[in-house]
Amino acid sequence: MNNAIREQFPILKQEINGHPLVYLDSAATSQKPLAVIEALRHYYEYDNANVHRGVHTLGSRATDAYEGAREKVAKFIHAKSTKEIVFTRGTTTALNMVASSYARSILSEGDEIVLTPMEHHSNLIPWQQVAKATGAVLKYVKLQEDGTVTLSEVEKVVSDKTKIVTMAYVSNVMGVINPVKEIAALAHRHGAVMVVDGAQSTPHMKVDVQDLDCDFYAFSGHKMCGPTGIGVLYGKQALLEKMEPVEFGGEMIDDVGLYDSSWKELPWKFEGGTPIIAGAVGLGAAIDFLESIGLDAIAAHEHELAEYAVGRLSEIEGLKLYGPRARKVGLVTFNLGDVHPHDVATVLDASGIAIRAGHHCCQPLMRWLEASSTARASFYLYNTKEDVDRLISALIQTKEYFG
């Protein structure tokens, strides 16, 4: 990665509190390159119209742009067809759709849903709710001491009662990559479906849903250089065919009578109302941007930054690092002795450094870590070793300030 990439992100060229901005909160949301900002601008300046209904030229252009974005997404995650790509508001909406439509229709009392204590609230609460509604039971995989998930621990909780296994591909706190391909195979041997929360994996590494053989895969555009408000639910066609739509209204219908209606074919039956057209166009531009750099190159860059950061953080006496030391994902979670993470984040902000402090929407995991909250620095393609150095010196200053 080089300065030419940083140059693509205008927001990074500013000072915060008198210091050049160091943005280390990409796991919350990534910054946007010019290509994405321009794509949104171009769409609204030249092509904006509603999709799938206008006979006029703008209607066709908007439809082409929207459906073109769907094709890009399908290729990006190696889906078999665009029928398997449903645009949603984000990962949360996509996971809720699986829980409230698919899961509710197949679960009965005593059926089991397997998940881990490291799930983000958005891959936890939908399952709690569906369990309450159906009488299904949540079964948690025991984490290893370093916070990793092993196949053998998953094997202990998956049984023929299991109907759904769900997990984050990459944890937003522990920075680990879970073995979801092996776990999907295990789930299938027991007749269960595999649901993958791809919010933290899709922006940072090559994803091939056919190779993973997962049944559902959810992710958000805004964490991968795209705009907020657009995400994707991938589902295997046969499963999506069987699912009832979650939202009813315009756009998603085939024929409407006074007492009954029928739905459009996939994927549109899941996209009630005017869809997130500009968001999809922006996501398409983000995919083009990421592919022009290469997902392998991005992953390698983040791996290098993560190793460098772990090494340098270990130099700070009293700093507690969570998760395994060896890591590939560009994300470090820590506590600086007794200094509360909010105080750490405030002092860092005064030096122009943006990190996240809190429970990271992972309260059960915080309890497991025996921490009420933690600080997290997360890296993306635009971050540099100098950013890590700035983080380290600011942390040392913070320690002295509160010492």
């Binding site: 105080d343 429970h359 009420s372």
Partner: protein
Amino acid sequence: MQLDDLYRRVIMDHYKNPRNRGKFEDGTVTVDLNNPTCGDKISLQLKVDDGIVQDARYTGEGCSISMSSASMMTEAVKGKTVEEARELASRFSALMQGEDVHFDDYEDIEALSGVNKFPARIKCATLAWNALRKGIDEKQHDH
């Protein structure tokens, strides 16, 4: 941005040497409040007799701002009538909104005025005071 506006010596003193931290065996009112956006927690106990806050204690987890604010609040509220305690809480809200208010009865609180310049941290400072309001409301509903 001046960090020393936020982390004044008085605040750090209350953070490192908290007053009234602990639990009563027989607190008459207990209020548990969380700040769901950040995970800060407070459990506040108030002893209210004859319309007067006789004593106050708290336990909790949180940053220097939320915990020092709790320490100051419990000091300031002791011996106040319920109405005075409510007025104190209102004055604290005004302080957080940047108004020029004073706490002649417990000056330490004025050290928190700098929080106003750090919008993300106002919620931290107000947690204990929200617990106080809730505790007083609950006590008055009992009667």
